[in-house]
């Protein structure tokens, strides 16, 4: 059992957890993830290790509710436990001093990018962060990102906060201003990562993305997480999750991630329905 030491919402549907996992806290490097299982009926889902505290022996994960497992996870509170947490998984980010490095996060992707952005800074780069959200209330980790950046921007699709527009528009502006960018890291929804790759491609700027295929074991055993990179099949859980954005077949990834869409939709509906019933029963018995 892995105890939840801290749990709080950062934005609607986005929750931060600190979980007791001292060995993982000690070992993990930027860009790595864990696989968790809530209870004995639970699915194994991958979540990036956003941060860790060796002294407290905890790791931080930041979770956006999108389906049954993440919704259930985000209903857990401090003091409760997860049945399984395994990691650290994946190849750590390979970050060196290159000059100017840009970290782009979209939605919960900001949380996934955070540890690697911090590593960019540690390695002595000039760090620019661009973090996008649909609207002001969904902006996360603004202060944390600002603290590690030399320049930081928040963008919102609806213009309710910061720069009005997409992260790619902000990136394009930086390029157009003549800034020499040496490395771009983009993590977020697949269309966003693909769009970033197309912005940087003509300029030959090295661009890294973190891919999020469906996983089971996270050790290279099932091959379900395979993605096409440079025309070759790679296992994202061991060969990745970070890959060269200019070589990734995003269309295949996007399609493959819809593989269980029907089952996922039904499971979430049923879960939400049961939760409502539970609430009703609670109010009745009050």
């Amino acid at each position: 059992m892995y105890k939840i030491i801290e749990a709080r919402f950062l934005a609607e549907n986005v929750k931060l957890f600190e979980i007791e996992a001292p060995k993982i806290a000690k070992k993990r490097k930027a860009g790595q993830f864990v696989i968790i299982r809530i209870d004995e009926h639970g699915e194994r889902i991958p979540l990036t290790i956003a941060n860790s505290d060796m002294e407290k022996g905890t790791i931080t994960i930041i979770v956006q509710s999108v389906g049954k497992t993440t919704t259930k996870l985000n209903s857990l509170e401090k003091g409760e436990s997860l049945l399984d947490v395994v990691g650290p998984l994946g190849t750590p980010s390979h970050i060196e001093k290159v000059g100017t490095a840009v970290s782009i996060g979209g939605g919960v992707g900001t949380a996934i990018a955070f540890p690697t952005a911090a590593e960019m800074k540690n390695q002595g780069n000039y760090v620019i962060t661009i973090n996008g959200a649909r609207t002001k209330d969904l902006v996360i980790l603004e202060d944390e990102m600002k603290a590690l950046s030399d320049e930081s921007y928040v963008t919102t699709d609806d213009g309710s906060y910061g720069y009005h527009g997409f992260v790619t528009q902000k990136l394009q502006e930086l390029i157009d201003e003549g800034k020499k960018l040496d490395l771009v890291l983009a993590i977020g929804p697949i269309p966003m990562m693909r769009a970033v790759a197309e912005v940087t491609r003509p300029h030959g700027i090295k661009t890294i993305v973190s891919l999020n295929p469906v996983m089971v074991d996270g050790t290279g055993m099932c091959g379900g997480c395979r993605v096409v990179v440079d025309g070759k099949s790679m296992f994202a859980c061991v060969d990745g999750p970070e890959f060269d954005a200019h070589l990734v077949d995003f269309k295949n990834l996007m399609n493959r991630n819809k593989m269980y869409a029907k089952q996922e939709h039904d499971a979430l509906e049923q879960y939400n329905h049961e939760c409502k019933l539970d609430k009703k029963i609670e109010t009745l018995s009050d």
Partner: protein, 474 residues
């Protein structure tokens, strides 16, 4: 015991295994084989000629004293029989079910030269089940603690057997397992209808009672390197029984379409994660009911996959194999069961391409007919494509079951561990010791995908050598 002549014994027909009806069992996940009754077992034991130089023992990879245990069964001493087996085989209830007896002990049984061999596997299974069902399983005595610590990576048959022997000798044994459940392929690969998970769980319970510690969710090489285990965590010796868990794909166009699974992915979802109970279990598997499913390969993994698909309601379930039936590596019984259950075999047939729609859903596979040519390196006749024989078959789900390579997680983080070109760990075959001092390995990670009995044997051989290593060191 009734005295029969050899001739009379040879006349007794082999007792067939009691099986669930094929048209019932292809809809459920309950065990297909129901086992012998005591009477059937004794009758079957009467068929043994008690050869002075029993060839069956030679045919057994771990040299179980087969003749002796069969004589004990004939005398009705079932517990004595299982104790005899356990001297050489730590996991008889499992091996009695999954060993390829027809190419081991039963292949060389003298009775088989003129008819059907003694059903050695069925007898092994019977006595092991008898012991368990009668609650007569004795937890082996544990030697007094010698204060030495052993780490075992992997809880498959290799790791479990190694743990059992070392715990018995008084070592402080910890087994680290990457997954959330113990048992290796026995739980995530081989389905319930062939090997009930309760049996594996009982074995593991026995080890726990012997004091073996199990730590799940722990990937050696990631969370602790082997050096850290030995230098920081105080383990005196390490055994690597991490299996061959890296699925091979065919490398054909369209292999990343939705609906193309590796057998490991498909079987893990269904067996380990219980996806057949979705949504009460959270892990999904693509809908199989009413679909056309093709499984590529001819081994046990292929048979398990195709029979699982059938049980999930597949409309057509095909085995597609590029050689002919004689070359199939699967246990003969599994092939027979698959056929009885309604699996369709497309032999001498090879896929050349997977075809999908705009949204990457698989809808058909292009196949090609093959003919057999000269023997290849494996001694089996090489399949050669027949030009112009290509055709498309409508398929919704494809499962690739052509074997596993070695998972590189441990070798990548242990530079001084010698591996072969294939990625398997190189060992001294007498001692199972690797190139790294104090580190031993056995099972599929050494041999490549093989069998439960070989993994079990390797785990025990290593335990012996580890004992010697640690005793000499002290």
């Amino acid at each position: 015991m009734q005295q029969l002549t050899a001739k009379e014994r040879m006349k007794i027909p082999r007792n067939p295994m009691v099986e669930q009806d094929p048209n019932e069992r292809n809809k459920n996940f309950l065990e297909v084989n129901q086992g012998y009754t005591a009477q059937m077992a004794q009758e079957e034991a009467m068929r043994c000629l008690a050869c002075p130089k029993p060839s069956c023992v030679e045919g057994c990879p771990v040299h179980i004293q087969i003749k002796d245990f069969i004589l004990q069964i004939a005398e009705g001493d079932f517990l004595g029989a299982v104790h005899t087996i356990k001297q050489d085989n730590a996991l008889p209830a499992i091996c009695g079910r999954v060993c390829p007896q027809e190419e081991q002990c039963e292949q060389v049984c003298v009775v088989g030269k003129r008819g059907e061999p003694v059903a050695i596997g069925n007898l092994e299974r019977f006595v092991a089940d008898y012991e368990r069902e009668m609650n007569k399983v004795e937890i082996p005595a544990v030697g007094s603690s010698n204060g030495k610590k052993v780490a075992i990576a992997g809880s498959g048959p290799a790791g479990l057997s190694c743990a059992k022997d070392l715990a018995g000798m008084g070592y402080d044994v910890t087994v680290f397992e990457a997954l959330h459940q113990l048992g290796g392929v026995l739980v995530y690969g081989i389905p319930e209808f062939r090997l009930p998970k309760d049996i594996v769980a009982k074995e593991i319970d026995g080890l726990k009672q012997m004091g073996v510690k199990f730590v799940t969710d722990t990937i050696i090489g990631r969370i602790s390197t082997i050096d850290e285990l030995m230098e920081e965590e105080g383990f005196d010796s390490v055994f690597l029984g991490v299996g061959a868990g890296l699925p091979w794909f065919l490398g054909l166009p369209g292999e990343n379409l939705i609906g193309v699974y590796s057998a490991n992915d498909f079987l893990t979802r269904v067996n380990l994660m219980k996806a057949y109970k979705f949504p009460s279990e959270d892990t999904p598997v693509l809908q199989v009911e009413g679909k056309n499913v093709a499984v590529f390969g001819g081994g046990n993994t292929a048979m398990d996959s195709v029979r699982t698909a059938l049980r999930l309601g597949a409309k057509n379930a095909y085995i597609i194999y590029r050689r002919s039936e004689v070359e199939m590596p699967a246990r003969v019984e599994e092939v027979k069961h698959a056929k009885e259950e309604g699996v369709q075999f497309l032999l001498l047939t090879n896929p050349i391409q997977f075809n999908g729609d705009e949204e990457d859903w698989l809808h058909s596979v292009t196949l090609q007919k093959m003919e057999l040519g000269e023997p290849d390196d494996s001694g089996r006749r090489r399949p050669i494509p027949i030009k112009g024989s290509e055709y498309d078959l409508d398929i919704d789900i494809s499962i690739i079951a052509i074997g596993n390579g070695s998972n590189p997680l441990i070798s990548q983080t242990t530079p001084d561990l010698e591996t072969s070109k294939r990625g398997t760990i190189v060992v001294n075959e007498e001692t199972m010791e690797t190139s790294k001092k104090g580190v031993f390995a056995g099972g599929d990670i050494v041999t490549g995908g093989a069998t439960v009995i070989l993994a079990m044997g390797a785990g025990r051989k290593a335990a012996e050598a580890m004992h010697k290593y640690m005793s000499d060191k002290a």
